[in-house]
């Protein structure tokens, strides 16, 4: 991955140091989150549980922790931390890619229909009582319909063998509103389930299992990897599609490829977590303000900053009220917006004036 960041391109020492510091900070945030939760588990106990999970090392000691403590750390905290990392990274990178493709700073991955499609799939499952894959029915339906809507938007936007970005944006908004109306109608027709639907839409990392985590990690590692590989094409596209064409980019192929991998990655996340707003919109801007530069820096750092941001949000969701977990979508906006405003005023250095 880092070959692409450092290779050949001008990277000041400052930026390299900042990225290194961010990685260290990410590691610290992950480690610290092992110790944060509603139930107090002593520091050394958590350490013991962590060491016990290391394949060879774990067998060498005799540990003193209860099965409940083990369950809390291994089956509750760890999936939450790592799913926050993966989902944050996915939304951050998705935002950076979609903003570049649309050349528009106020877009986010949801704009191409991911959110309305996922909501449609989930709500249909809840309201119609669809059972395809047991407890994973909602995941599957949300994922499938999310992709259905994205590709519907994409193919409706075709004009003269191309997908003009303005069409794509407007079609995304129009189709999303249409699908949202269908969702509202389903909810309205089955009043009893309004609560369930509302709860799902607010987003949560609470119930993500290791199985789900494995799947979203695989999909998103691929999505982020492809996005990083194609960050140079995205840079050129940000300077105009015609320009990109003349400097050697297969513009339409790049667009459909990147929209596809982002749709797959983000849809997989939305399917297991519900709708978590704000991350995809803001994280790429935070990265541009902190590190500056092109997508070769912005995309990988969006993964880092997105991960940090969502892990911290999840910690905050636990910490707000003892014993309760606030829906994470609420926290991301509550914590994120003031932070972003501060950053915008302190760091923008005029680069956003134009």
């Amino acid at each position: 991955m880092f070959k692409y960041i450092t290779e050949r391109h001008i990277l000041t020492i400052g930026t390299k140091t900042k990225i290194a510091l961010s990685l260290i900070f990410l590691l610290l945030v992950i480690l610290a989150s092992f110790f944060i939760g509603s139930v107090k588990i002593p520091f050394y106990t958590v350490m013991e549980i962590m060491i016990s999970q290391v394949p060879v090392l774990g067998g060498m000691f005799h540990f003193h922790f209860t099965s409940i403590q083990h369950e809390i750390v291994v089956l509750l905290r760890e999936p939450q931390i790592f799913s926050a990392l993966v989902i944050g990274a996915s939304l951050g990178v998705g935002g950076a890619v979609i903003q570049s493709i649309f050349k528009n700073p106020i877009t986010e991955p949801y704009v191409i229909g991911i959110s309305s499609g996922a909501a449609f799939g989930a709500v249909a499952t809840i309201v119609l009582g669809i059972d395809i894959l047991g407890i994973y029915s909602i995941d599957l339906m949300a994922f499938v319909f999310s992709l259905v809507v994205v590709y519907l938007v994409y193919f409706l936007s075709f004009r003269h063998g191309k997908v003009p970005i303005v069409y794509l944006l407007l079609m995304g908004i129009a189709v999303s509103l249409f699908v949202s109306a269908l969702v509202a109608f389903m909810v309205f027709s089955n009043v009893r389930l309004q609560g369930d639907v509302f709860f799902w839409l607010m987003g949560s990392l609470q119930q993500i299992t290791w199985t789900e985590l494995g799947i979203i990690t695989a999909v998103n590692v691929l999505a982020i990897f492809v996005s990083i590989i194609y960050s140079r094409e995205l840079d050129a596209i940000q300077l105009g599609e015609e320009y990109a064409h003349t400097v050697g980019v297969n513009v339409e192929f790049t667009k459909i490829l990147l929209i596809s991998v982002i749709a797959f990655g983000v849809s997989a996340c939305v399917a297991v977590s519900g709708l978590i707003g704000f991350v995809g919109l803001i994280v790429p801007h935070v990265c541009r303000l902190i590190y500056g530069g092109t997508n070769r820096i912005v995309i990988p750092t969006s993964a880092i900053i997105g991960g940090i941001f969502l892990i911290l949000s999840e910690d905050a969701a636990h910490a707000f009220i003892s014993g309760e977990v606030i829906p994470i979508g609420i926290v991301t906006s509550l914590v994120g917006v003031p932070f972003f405003m501060l950053l915008l005023s302190r760091l923008s250095r005029g680069s956003y004036d134009a």
Partner: protein, 327 residues
């Protein structure tokens, strides 16, 4: 099958969110009933403390509150009901037109029925209530009983409103003697088990804590709720795992598969033999606060303490559709 109570959950949830947001949330609660004499004008008060005066018992009622509909039936006043709502579940086979749900009211249908009073529920005045009361000039009475004394007041109020005070007294007395029977049976039980109520498995582990209607059932049944915060909220999975509740009570629509994994699979309820995971037989008995709530408590105690004998008297009024659960 519908239940208006879900909207109560939603409102409670919104309140939780508002508190989190740091906004000031003020909700007063006043409940009392009028104590008019049996003759002369009838003066009744709703849960917001607003008084209404009627010259004689009303004969045209629209109910947007399933609890009120059920109570009117038990009082023998169902013939006075000219309009119902989509949540009404008891008595079954309602023949009057639906006028609305918790969000929308069909005003033309409402006017067409020319009711003397509209009964609604909720802790705050809904916008359609203001419209019905102030614009359509039809008295809109709001109620929101949240405890047994409040259910009793509510029943008495409806009795006076419909001229069925004697039946209301009979029902209230039956409730009191039933509650007495329950508490005397429970006095033999000294242990306190812990319970987790799983309200919804969407978007976190939704549960009901203190100051909720269902929590009162737990107190009566000598159960300690592991959810100790107030209202409806998403509890941390860590708390569930750590508290390891003896009993898990699933809402009617939460599948048992939802408790097969962490944080539930290691709890006392799941690891004990037999497992103590119970699914509520019918949400309406738990969600609609009226005289039938007695049967909800009876069910809860009977499944948790299979050996206990509960001497609940038969319902004193002979009804075409018996009020007890079918099971």
């Amino acid at each position: 099958m519908s239940s208006g109570f879900f909207d109560r959950k939603m409102k409670a949830l919104v309140v939780v969110i508002i508190v989190v947001l740091g906004a000031l949330s003020v909700f007063g609660y006043v409940s009392s009933t009028g104590h008019a004499s049996s003759s002369g004008p009838i003066k009744v008060t709703d849960s917001l403390g607003r008084s209404f005066v009627f010259q004689k018992p009303v004969t045209r009622i629209v109910s947007l509150d399933p609890s009120a509909t059920a109570t009117l039936y038990a009082l023998g006043a169902i013939k006075d009901l000219v309009g119902g709502n989509v949540y009404d579940s008891y008595p079954p086979n309602e023949s009057v037109p639906n006028v609305g749900n918790a969000y929308t009211v069909d005003y033309s249908e409402l006017l067409n029925l020319s009711p003397q009073v509209v009964l609604g529920y909720g802790s705050t005045m809904p916008s359609y209530g203001t419209y019905i009361n102030n614009t359509l000039k039809i008295p809109f009475m709001l109620d929101n009983p949240e405890s047994f004394p409040q259910i009793e007041n509510f029943t008495m109020m409806l009795g006076e409103l419909t001229g069925k005070s004697s039946n209301a007294t009979i029902i209230v007395n039956w409730m009191s003697s039933s509650l007495n029977a329950i508490s005397s049976s429970m006095s033999n039980i000294s242990t306190e088990q812990t319970i987790f109520y799983y309200l919804s498995n969407y978007g976190g582990y939704w549960t009901a804590g203190n100051n909720t209607f269902i929590n009162q059932f737990f107190l009566i049944a000598h159960l300690r709720n592991v959810a100790s915060n107030s209202g409806y909220f998403t509890i941390s999975g860590e708390v569930i795992a750590n508290e390891s509740p003896d009993i898990i009570l699933l809402d009617q629509y939460v599948p048992e598969s939802a408790v097969q994994t962490a944080p539930f699979n290691e709890t006392a309820a799941m690891t004990g033999s037999p497992q103590k995971v119970f699914t509520i037989f019918d949400d309406n008995f738990f969600n609609e606060p009226d005289f039938r709530t007695i049967y909800a408590i009876q069910w809860l105690i009977s499944i948790i303490y299979p050996g206990i004998y509960l001497n609940i008297p038969n319902f004193p009024i002979n009804l075409g559709y018996p009020p007890m659960p079918n099971a």
